[in-house]
């Protein structure tokens, strides 16, 4: 067992190491890479050690009053999120090495990227809602520079939108958290409590891109691909979802919320977001923006599971959280590889590229199949579990939601497979001469992609281990009400 005191160093190490790139003015490309690679790898190893061995006692960093503390604690739910992050981060950094090879501001990028790692781990390790809130705000701050990295007008505007949305949302979340810490949550004030819970979900809903607070996410796809892949498909958005889970199951508890109008409202909102995101993705012709809309829809799959407020619902949500992470990151990686190799960003430019970039598009096809939820890929497992959860909740709304999930899966097939079709089967009449000079991406990009694709297939076929953990988490949370 490792003492909980080691949690803080693991959070601080990447943050400080990132800052050091700026402080020591490390500019040499190679040095930046080796440095970042080493820091990321070390952090991941340390994080995994903690995930496997840390004790659950927790440690208090700062004590303002009796209840008002800054506390780190690594419970099973946090470990699950940290596990996703710590696995995917090194892969993304490896990918970013090649993606940003010609970027003059590489050092700045890796500064913020490494810092974001620490902050995300902080979110997973925070021991109470106040600490969670602090890290949540910090995550906004360190990721804004990443969104505006390219420095174009569009990027700055996107960063502005992102920043505004996130700060505004966090304010709502803070109100909700403060109410929870000071207010009455007894049976008499149940109506007020529900309203404050709703405010909190709206607040955290910004990062989890719930309609109508999703607008920042498609815009933010102007960021470099490693950012859109890791942050806007995994770390940032899943941090939003994770916070909603914390607020729902650990903060307010499901007893007060279940079968109330708040639950129905939130189920409705997330179901609507699923439809909305999927339909917009069908309409969108910019590849990365299309994937971003797809993320909007998929995040609401997870939220739908969360708002079911049953054990099965939470299981489905956690499963989809893990599986969607690996699937979407792979899809973004493929889009980025094409963007990097050819400069093409629109779907109608993909004709026949599959024959030139075989591995890239094979990986993309895997992610398309998985995202649609076709067996034997991992997306099928999580979708099946979400559906089962909706069925066992046994209310008209959950059934409607299940219908929505299935309909959205059809739309997913439409928007993913149009690209697969164009890449592999361009049709006889298409001119393919413009593809002549296209080359396959380099190994730094391909290796993470192939690992992810293999991972999708493997977790699809043998989801046993993940399932076991998810079951454990959901069971313990709903049985004990979650100590937080």
């Amino acid at each position: 067992m490792i003492s909980s005191a080691f949690l803080l160093p693991v959070i601080l190490f990447p943050i400080l190491s990132g800052a050091l790139i700026q402080a020591f003015r490390i500019r040499e490309r190679k040095t930046v890479r080796i440095y970042t690679g080493a820091v990321t790898l070390l952090t991941s190893v340390a994080a995994w050690l903690l995930i496997l061995r840390a004790d659950e006692s927790g440690c208090v960093l700062l004590k303002f009053t009796r209840d008002f503390t800054l506390k780190l604690r690594f419970d099973a739910c946090g470990r699950f999120f940290a596990g996703i992050v710590a696995t995917l981060w090194p892969l993304t950094v490896c990918y970013a090495f090649e993606y940003l090879e010609d970027d003059p501001r590489q050092h700045t990028f890796f500064t913020w990227f490494t810092m974001a790692y620490g902050v995300t781990l902080g979110i997973s390790m925070s021991g109470n809602l106040f600490s969670l809130y602090i890290f949540y705000e910090l995550l906004t701050l360190v990721t804004v520079p990443l969104v505006m990295h390219t420095g174009t007008r569009e990027a700055i505007r996107a960063a502005r939108t992102y920043f505004g949305f996130s700060l505004g949302g966090a304010a709502f979340a803070l109100i909700s958290i403060l109410y929870l810490m000071t207010g009455e949550t007894s049976v008499e004030s149940v109506q007020i409590t529900r309203i404050f819970y709703f405010l909190g979900v709206v607040g955290f809903g910004v990062k989890s891109a719930m309609f109508p607070l999703h607008a920042w996410l498609p815009k933010a796809s102007v960021a470099p691909t490693p950012v859109t892949a890791l942050l806007h498909a995994v770390a940032v958005v899943k941090a939003g979802v994770f916070s909603v889970i914390r607020l729902t199951y650990f903060g307010y508890g499901t007893d007060l919320l279940k079968d109330s109008y708040v639950q129905i409202l939130l189920l409705g909102l997330s179901a609507f977001t699923i439809l909305y995101g999927a339909v917009r993705a069908v309409k969108e012709v910019h590849w990365k923006r299309r994937l971003a809309y797809s993320t909007v829809a998929n995040l609401s799959y997870i939220l739908f599971g969360v708002f079911l407020m049953t054990e099965a619902g939470l299981q489905g949500a956690l499963l989809h959280m893990a599986f969607h992470a690996q699937i979407k990151i792979l899809a973004f990686f493929s889009a980025g590889a094409v963007l990097h190799q050819t400069g093409r960003a629109y779907i109608y430019e993909m004709d026949g590229l599959g024959r030139k970039m075989k591995v890239t598009f094979a990986c993309f096809t895997v992610s398309a199949i998985a995202l649609t939820g076709i067996p034997p890929m991992s997306g099928f497992i999580s979708k099946w579990h979400l559906l089962t959860a909706a069925a066992s909740a046994d209310t008209p709304f959950s059934f409607a939601g299940a219908g929505v999930i299935l309909f959205a899966a059809l739309l997913t097939a439409v928007y993913m497979f149009t690209m697969v079709r164009r890449a592999w089967f361009p049709g006889k009449e298409t001119e393919l001469q413009k593809n002549e000079n296209v080359r396959e991406a380099g190994l730094f990009m391909l290796i993470p992609m192939v690992i992810l694709a293999a991972g999708i297939l493997f977790t699809g076929l043998f989801p046993g281990t993940v399932m076991m953990h998810v079951r454990e988490i959901a069971g313990s949370v709903l049985a004990a009400g979650g100590e937080f």
């Binding site: 804004v144 520079p145 339909v279 069908v282």
Partner: protein, 707 residues
């Protein structure tokens, strides 16, 4: 085919042969079940019984036969490796579907099969193929997801999806619960598997995908893939809803519509493979009627169960034969339009004999295999009409009519290809296309064609001995007691075939020759817009839904909603302020609050800007390389350069030293930056203000003094 392609072909031919041998071996082994727990979190389970053994045999036989044709068919085609690889994968997947013992496993393999067979449809990559493949995929995904939802509901209701236990579980469930949920689940599963089978109204992919796929693949699509859909329909209808009149009637109606519509479409078509595809749809309708009667009659439905089973097997073998004939024609002419194929088969005896046997078989002529299964189906209908009366007698007449239409369109094809003389245009076309081919068919393909054709009369003549035994083996799956022996050639049974033959002849002479032909050419009388896909499905999915959501986005989405909300809050506040306006105490308070809110929002907005500006000014300062070109064009640089030149002339400076030019340029840069800093800074603004104020003061003094 090049060397690699030949190797891949040989390998897949070997694999299909191995599968055939294994299926034969399996046929003689006792049945058993195996399960793989935990795989895909739900666990997969397989079982081997009589029905599955027979279908494994049919599948591997068909695969091997089509592979024999493939070498010749694919010569000169592109991307053949892709086809062979996905062909083998599809065989594995479809065997998985048929061997699965629960619906979940069936669904898993069903989905895999849909995706691997997608490559078949799009293989040729023509415009039509790409579009048809899109439709195929959409239907496959809709069907798959709908079946997924149904199976999931079923598991929730019954607690199991094991096919053998469905009936008992459903019976137990119905005792305490309303069957509404069960019907929903059944309808969803029916939609999923029915879409693959080509049942109306999800048949739209079938007439499009079959003609564009390569002929060996069309044979398999039509012969086997549709049967995997039928497999699911049987599992539901003979399991969960056995002896349920409502369900049976629904299937009966769907089957009748499919049967008639398919036959009519086939009659109207002037494309060889499209005719065969629509014919497949129609024959699936026959099978569906058999399923419906089995479902209605329950344990007594042995006749229709046997009819269903045998028609499935027969149709698989018939379509193998007919599509292989179409494939032989296509690989010679690369054309499927009947007007251009006319008379191509004259003098090609093997092709003619094979096609004739197939046509007689599918037409249900006594002595051929189709007759046996159609007679059984007919008897099943008659038996069911004893219980359900009028509806069934209507169905019986439509059944005979569709049988007649089948004979009519097969006659149309046969007469056109093997009997009519080619016109001038067609003759030239055929000569030109097949000029480079020494023989119209090679050895392996010819053997495959002959074997696939000779089976048909063999089956037709051994009704009691072979066919009913096949049916008997599958009694466990259908949960019906199969008939042991039957007098197939009794007068009663021959009468049905006779009526159909009469109708067929009449339709051929009156409709095909008179209405569907004009000036000796076959014309397509089907209007272009008469396509369910174009009228309903595509607009709904691609236009209406996105338009609705686009509108929602325009109203709410992308920042506008926040602005609107902000304005709304302000309006509300001012309204409140006006409401309390008379009250002196509250009025200043509310106004103050309003102002506070305004200040706060502005401050928040500015704070965001400030952070962005701060970042833009510090870590995100643009990295601009010193541009030499720009420097050389500046006046200061040139000025310095001329000084340099005069120095150089006096020998005081080296050749490439731009001392003064650089110095002058640096001075200019310093000046520029200073003015820039000045003009940009706050102090400059103050300075300018002070200057302006001073100027005004001076002016005032001046006027005052002199004015």
């Amino acid at each position: 085919m090049n060397k690699t392609e030949t190797r891949v072909y040989a390998l897949s031919l070997g694999l299909t042969f191995l599968m055939l041998v294994l299926s034969v071996l399996l046929f003689f082994l006792p049945g058993r079940s195996i399960g793989i727990p935990l795989l895909l979190s739900h666990g997969l389970s397989f079982t081997v019984d009589g029905f599955r053994k027979i279908y494994a045999l049919v599948i591997s036989f068909m695969w091997f036969m089509t592979m024999l044709l493939s070498k010749e068919y694919f010569a000169g085609h592109h991307h053949n490796i892709r086809y062979f690889v996905f062909n083998i994968l599809t065989e594995g997947a479809i065997l998985g579907v048929f061997f699965s013992s629960d619906l979940f496993t069936a669904l898993v393999f069903f989905e895999i099969m849909s995706f691997t067979s997608f490559v078949w449809v799009i293989q040729e990559e023509t415009e039509g193929a790409v579009r048809a493949a899109g439709t195929y995929l959409a239907i496959a995904v809709i069907g798959g997801l709908s079946a997924l939802m149904g199976i999931w509901l079923l598991e929730k209701c019954l607690g199991t999806t094991e096919i053998a236990r469905l009936y008992e579980a459903a019976k137990a469930y119905r005792e305490g619960n309303s069957p509404a949920l069960l019907y929903t689940a059944g309808a969803l599963i029916l939609a999923g598997f029915g879409a693959k089978a080509g049942v109306f109204p999800l048949h739209i992919w079938l007439p499009k995908a079959h003609p564009v796929a390569p002929a060996p693949a069309s044979a398999l699509l039509s012969g086997v893939l549709t049967k995997s859909g039928v497999f699911g329909v049987i599992a539901v209808s003979c399991g969960i809803f056995r002896e349920d009149p409502a369900w049976g009637t629904a299937i009966l109606i769907l089957g009748t519509v499919t049967m008639l519509l398919g036959a009519v479409l086939a009659l109207l078509s002037i494309d060889l493979k499209r005719t065969l595809a629509c014919s497949s749809m129609s024959q699936i309708g026959f099978i569906m009627i058999g399923i419906a009667c089995t479902c209605l009659l329950g344990e007594e439905g042995g006749l229709s169960a046997a009819g269903t089973m045998l028609h499935m097997v027969n149709h698989s073998l018939l379509k193998l034969n007919l599509f292989m004939c179409a494939g032989v024609i296509y690989m010679n002419l690369h054309e499927l339009d009947l007007n251009l194929l006319r008379g191509f088969g004259r003098g090609k005896h093997l092709l003619q004999a094979a096609f004739l046997l197939g046509a007689l078989g599918i037409g249900g002529i006594p002595g051929f295999n189709g007759y046996i299964s159609k007679t059984l189906l007919h008897e099943g209908i008659v038996e069911a009409s004893g219980m359900y009366g009028r509806l069934l007698s209507g169905v019986e007449w439509i059944f005979l009519l569709s049988g007649g239409l089948t004979i009519a369109y097969m006659t149309k094809l046969y007469v056109c290809i093997f009997h009519e003389k080619p016109g001038k245009e067609a003759e030239e076309f055929q000569k030109e296309r097949s000029a480079h081919r020494p023989k119209y068919i090679g050895g392996a393909a010819g053997a495959a064609l002959a074997v696939s054709a000779l089976i048909l009369p063999l089956f037709g003549l051994t009704g009691n001995r072979l066919m009913l035994r096949i049916a008997g083996l599958s009694s466990e799956f259908f949960r019906a007691k199969m008939p042991e022996a039957l007098r197939f050639f009794s007068l009663e049974n021959l009468k049905g075939a006779g009526i159909s033959a009469l109708i067929g002849t009449a339709v051929y002479l009156l409709v095909v020759r008179k209405v569907l032909m004009k000036d000796g050419r076959y014309v397509n009388r089907l209007p272009r817009w008469a396509d369910l896909e174009e009228i309903v499905y595509r607009p709904l999915l691609l236009r209406i839904l996105p338009a609705v959501f686009g509108w929602i986005a325009a109203v709410f989405g992308e920042n506008k909603i926040l602005t609107a909300a902000g304005k709304g809050v302000m309006k509300l506040a001012s309204f409140a302020a006006r409401l309390f306006g008379e009250n002196r105490l509250l009025s200043p308070l509310s106004k103050g609050l309003l102002r506070l809110v305004k200040i706060l929002t502005r401050a928040a907005s500015d704070a965001v800007d400030a952070v962005i500006l701060l970042l833009a000014g510090t870590v995100f300062r643009p990295v601009l390389p010193p541009s030499t070109e720009q420097a050389e064009h500046s006046i200061f640089y040139r000025l310095g350069n001329s000084v340099d030149r005069s120095y150089r002339r006096r020998g005081k400076e080296a050749e490439n030293e731009h001392r003064f030019a650089r110095l002058f340029y640096r001075i200019r840069e310093t000046m520029r930056r200073t003015t820039h800093n000045l003009t940009d800074s706050m102090s400059f603004a103050l300075l300018a203000t002070i200057l302006a104020v001073t100027a005004i003061l001076l002016y005032v003094l001046f006027v005052h003094h002199f004015g």
